[in-house]
Amino acid sequence: MDENGLIINLEDICFGYPGRPTVLDKLNLLFYEGERMGLMGSNGSGKTTLFHIIMGLLKPSSGRIEIMGRPVKEEKDFREVRKKIGLLFQDADDQLFSPTVLEDVAFGPLNLGKSQDEAKTIARRTLESLGLAGFEDRITYKLSGGEKRLVSLATVLAMEPEVLLLDEPTTGLDEATEKRLIDILKGLDISYILVSHDMDFLKEATTGITCMSNGTIVLDDERIPHTHVHVHKHGRYVHDHGLSLPGKKR
């Protein structure tokens, strides 16, 4: 860990998908331990891309990435990063690939070298902590949307990460499940970055809101506690004219 508790340090990150306009343009991001950052930005502004760059799933064309004080460049470095940072994918069907819930949750711990019994214990404990006891033998594809989301969160938490990246965790959730998610997040002792379009949800679950637009972070320096900020931030968000692609979301 960096002595200041700096976990993620991105410097001048540029990225574009082949044959498309730039998505991230000299993006800078500082993320500290204990922070609960809300990230907003119109559809297609590059939030998912940013997460994938942090996890090493996409390679930036230029810029520096430092995680916990160490520069990361190659796949080998990112393997270590993935043990510390957990990513909750936008689509739960991508995250849950094992046939049963228990196997899916135990998958991460097993990859980290835990024994079968340890992995099972961790998986059970994680499920229980999310109020999912009794879900062990459920078939993943038969879960409801909300259950899929919570089980996905369990699969990430089972790896005991120090940081969570949550990519639109509330899409498709009903109010009750959303409430439950907020309670779970509040009860976690983990720093996280949370992408959402839902102002109220962000207000509940984060300590500050950051906006992305035109491929960079805006208002990064004025990350003021949101109680009085979000009203006009919301306004700015609406007027945002980034790389938005209307109707991109399904």
């Binding site: 799933l57 993935r82 990513l87 046939p99 228990l102 998958f107 790896m159």
Partner: protein
């Protein structure tokens, strides 16, 4: 789509899946290479006995046998007339031979006997257990992975397919025999392929994020009980008897 029948409770349902896989595999090989009618009839009888022990609903069994037998009916239209040999009957200018009829009969019995045991195997074991048992039997890792992923994502892809079809219907698409229909179906198939490949990429990413290094670990452990051992020995003896009957031309 995939309806599992694994819910029943019989000796066959409780058997160690590894025993079932080995028995079904050996049985199928022996039946496939056998030619004598005595052997084939015994094999068919044996497979039907297994159905009785497994207490499968007969209706479900027949429903699952229909596709194979459609194919076999088709063979009966051709095989008798394409084999040289002793004429048996004639339909107009076509002459059906004795050899051709026997050949078609052999194929019918063989395929039904094999299909019946396969159906019992799949119906009495959950897909999951089957995959893990394959893994325990040292089936190559990649095949087991393919088996699991097919099972997991066939539903997702089917749902994606239904979504696309509904989107087409909602905008008034009615299939006909015209260029527009062919083009639309081509788009549908193309779209499904593209989406599946995107999905594969995302699933791989999700696995990488959770430390995937090429190994899938299984959480199930199997243990052979007394009834497993007895069933295995009994079935091996019966299969061996079929083999001996075939090769020594006894009876």
């Amino acid at each position: 789509m995939i309806v599992e029948l694994a819910g029943g409770d019989s000796l066959i349902h409780r058997l160690d899946p590894r025993v079932k896989i080995v028995v079904v595999f050996l049985f199928s090989v022996v039946v496939a290479v056998s030619d004598r009618f005595v052997v084939l009839m015994w094999a068919l009888a044996l497979s039907l006995c297994i159905v009785l022990v497994a207490r499968l609903p007969i209706k479900e069994l027949i429903r699952r046998l229909i596709p194979v037998n459609m194919f076999i009916v088709f063979l009966w239209f051709f095989l008798p007339f394409t084999f040289e040999g002793e004429p048996l009957f004639s339909v107009g200018p076509l002459v059906g031979t004795h050899e051709g009829v026997l050949y078609a009969a052999r194929i019918s019995i063989k395929s039904n006997a094999i299909m019946v045991v396969l159906i019992v195997l799949v119906a009495s074991t959950s897909i999951l257990t089957l995959g893990h048992a394959m893994h325990e039997l040292r089936v190559p890792k990649k095949i087991v992975h393919l088996f699991f992923f097919t099972y997991r994502y066939i539903h997702v892809i089917h749902r994606e397919y239904l979504r696309l079809v509904n989107a087409m219907k909602a905008r008034g698409f009615r299939p006909g025999t015209n260029m527009h229909t062919y083009k639309t179906y081509a788009y549908l198939v193309g779209m499904l392929l593209v989406r599946s490949s995107d999905r594969a990429e995302r699933v791989r990413n999700a696995m990488l994020c959770r430390g995937f290094r090429g190994n899938l670990y299984s959480l199930s452990t199997f243990s052979m009980k007394r009834e497993d051992v007895i069933s295995l020995i009994l079935m091996l003896a019966l299969i061996l008897a079929l083999g001996v009957l075939e090769w020594t031309k006894m009876v």
